[in-house]
């Protein structure tokens, strides 16, 4: 089907693309995995978090500090990163899900800010604002050097495939269908006998853990762990990617990330103020196309698009 087709296309691209785009696409795939994670919570459950950078960074720093300070290898580092994400998202979910709507957005924003500031404050361990380069031991998994462009691309593709297929499975499963119903009308679902809070909690933890996985892999593949990835910008970006690509669609996050990446790539060639593009796109989307690209496709061309 469509989604396997995309994965096949990306695999083919591995052999066909020139080096510059090859490297970019690897980056895009990892970031798209982050977007997929965000989409689980925003697109499907209907909860707009402004603090997902906390989970992305939890994965990245969990892995990074494990490698740096505990001497872990890549595999163990990855597990530590994912585990950190799971713990942090469970904690935040337990608190933030007591609120809804605007309050939820602000609470998640605040927790993420606190996380970012904590990374700066505890600079002794995190190297604060500068960040640190990941030791080679953290970039060699099962004998493969993840920093080599070829392996790096395939690793990114592996992560993306897992996240894509997982999202698809989740969305089609009863759990996903209940989430969509909760997004439509929470009280009705509750009065049908479902524990909506438990569903939301599970969705948020799944979303946060997937985001952490993306963060950990990003650090491993591109060799750098830094505070920027915990900043507000990295909370806004997945929102932007998902909105642009189409919230509540499985392909949307990838499309949005790819589009925005190249748009900003072009923009940064012209000016240092490339985030202007992000601003304009955000405003344009909310005004004219809240469904995003795949959302419009779904509306006009193919009703059943997952």
């Amino acid at each position: 089907m469509l989604h396997l087709g995309l994965l096949a296309l990306l695999l083919a691209a591995h052999f066909l693309l020139p080096a510059y785009h090859h490297g970019n696409l690897a980056r895009v795939m990892v970031l798209a995995s982050y977007a997929l994670a965000y989409n689980l919570l925003f697109g499907y459950t209907g909860l707009l978090s402004l603090g997902h950078a906390l989970f992305f960074a939890a994965g990245m720093y969990g892995m990074g500090m494990g490698v740096q300070h505990l001497g872990l290898g890549a595999g163990a580092g990855l597990i530590l990163g994912i585990g950190s994400g799971a713990v942090v998202s469970a904690l935040v979910a337990a608190l933030a899900l007591r609120t809804s709507g605007v309050a939820f957005m602000i609470v998640t924003l605040m927790f993420a800010q606190a996380g970012f500031l904590a990374i700066l404050h505890f600079g002794a361990w995190t190297r604060g604002d500068e960040g640190f380069v990941l030791a080679q031991a953290g970039r060699t998994l099962w004998g493969m050097d993840l920093s080599a462009p070829g392996t790096r691309y395939l690793a990114a593709l592996a992560l993306f495939s897992v996240c894509l297929l997982l999202s698809l499975a989740l969305v089609r499963a009863p759990f996903g269908r209940v989430l969509v119903a909760i997004r439509e009308n929470e009280e009705r679902v509750r009065m049908l006998g479902y524990d909506t809070q438990a569903h939301r909690f599970a969705a948020m933890v799944a979303s946060g853990t997937m985001a952490a996985a993306a963060g950990a892999v990003y650090g491993m593949l591109f060799g750098y762990v830094g505070a920027t990835f915990a900043s507000v910008q990295y909370s806004i970006l997945p929102l932007l990617w998902v909105l642009l690509g189409g919230a509540g669609t499985v392909l949307g996050p990838f499309i949005g990330t790819l589009f925005m990446f190249y748009l900003i790539d072009l923009g940064s060639g012209l000016t240092t103020a490339y985030m202007l593009i992000a601003g304009v796109v955000l405003v344009g989307l909310t005004l004219f196309a809240p469904q995003g690209i795949m959302g419009e496709v779904r509306r006009r061309l193919w009703r059943g698009l997952p």
């Binding site: 709507g101 605007v102 404050h121 985030m275 601003g279 909310t286």
Partner: protein, 306 residues
């Protein structure tokens, strides 16, 4: 300096912060109270006030230039805000979530355009007057309590003027809201939008003016602080965060609560920053906001239970 005078100095500095913060937060609170929207670009209106003040004082030197800036900057920023409301927010029907996303976009647009025109450097603005005022401290001597003048304990005439000016503006704002016809119209719209419409109140116009007034207050606060702080394109982030903290803790939509919270937070931020690390102070403040929203959403002096 000993603890006592040091504390007094910290308190004075905190008072200046509190004064400016009260003005900025009042703007945010007004917008939320009347329009029920959260404006993430509020910090950028603040920043624009400072930047415009720099432009004006570059054109017209001396204290007259500054006086001109005090009038021109808030007016221009207010007008810009009105334009943003009419073109963007109104089209979104003030839907809370979509408005937040749109204002995030607006944040990036304003910030990056400023980067492109004003540049990345911090630029100073000269205060219109700046006499040093040494302050006394009491000490127990052999003849009983005497006044001493510790070196380093002092303030400036300008800083005192800032506190006075902020107080005057806030008093005027209170009078405006409580006594004037326009203020009454605003409060009526805040209390019950449908009723206001039924009574022929031009709600959309009220909203546009409120949004403009909120932005103008922030810009005014920035003009007051810019001789102390310097103008920089990223200077909107801190005031945004702090205003948020103040408005949420003081109770969304409650102006007296906002003012009280501004004093509390401005003073404590000043004091904590002097004795501890400013980053730690911010971490605690951010967490406090999140926890207040989770456990006591009506803030400390809450309006209704909403």
């Amino acid at each position: 300096m000993e603890f006592g005078p040091h504390l007094m100095l910290a308190t004075l500095e905190g008072a200046v912060t509190a004064a400016v913060l009260a003005l900025t937060a009042a703007g945010l609170s007004l917008v939320f109270g009347v329009m029920r929207v959260v404006n993430i670009a509020h910090g950028e209106f603040f920043m624009l006030g400072a930047v415009l003040a720099w432009w004006v004082t570059q054109a017209v030197a001396g204290p007259w230039g500054f006086a001109l800036a005090l009038v021109v900057a808030p007016l221009l920023v207010g007008a810009l805000a009105v334009a943003a409301d009419v073109t963007i927010l109104r089209r979104l029907s003030y839907d809370p979530e979509r408005t937040i996303v749109a204002t995030i976009g607006l944040l990036y647009i304003l910030q990056q355009l400023t980067l492109m025109t004003f540049g990345p450097d911090a630029r100073p603005v000269v205060a219109p007057f700046n006499a040093r005022i040494a302050l006394p401290w009491v000490e127990r001597g052999p003849e009983g309590w005497t006044l001493i003048w510790p070196w380093g304990l002092g303030t400036t005439s300008y800083k005192l003027a800032v506190i006075g000016a902020a107080g005057a503006v806030l008093a005027a704002l209170w009078l405006f809201l409580a006594r004037s016809r326009a203020g009454l119209v605003m409060r009526a719209t805040q209390a019950d939008r449908e009723m206001a419409t039924a009574f022929g109140v031009p709600v959309e116009r009220v909203y546009a003016l409120t949004f403009g007034l909120g932005a103008a207050l922030a810009a005014l606060a920035a003009v007051l602080i810019v001789p102390i702080q310097q103008a920089h394109y990223l200077m909107g982030a801190d005031p945004l965060l702090l205003s948020f903290i103040v408005v949420i803790i003081g109770g969304l939509g409650s102006l007296p609560g906002t003012l009280l919270a501004a004093v509390l937070i401005g003073l404590s931020d000043g004091i904590i920053s002097v004795f501890f690390s400013p980053t730690l102070a911010k971490i605690l403040a951010t967490l406090l906001v999140a926890l207040v929203l989770v456990f006591r959403p009506q803030g400390l002096f809450g309006a209704r239970g909403r």
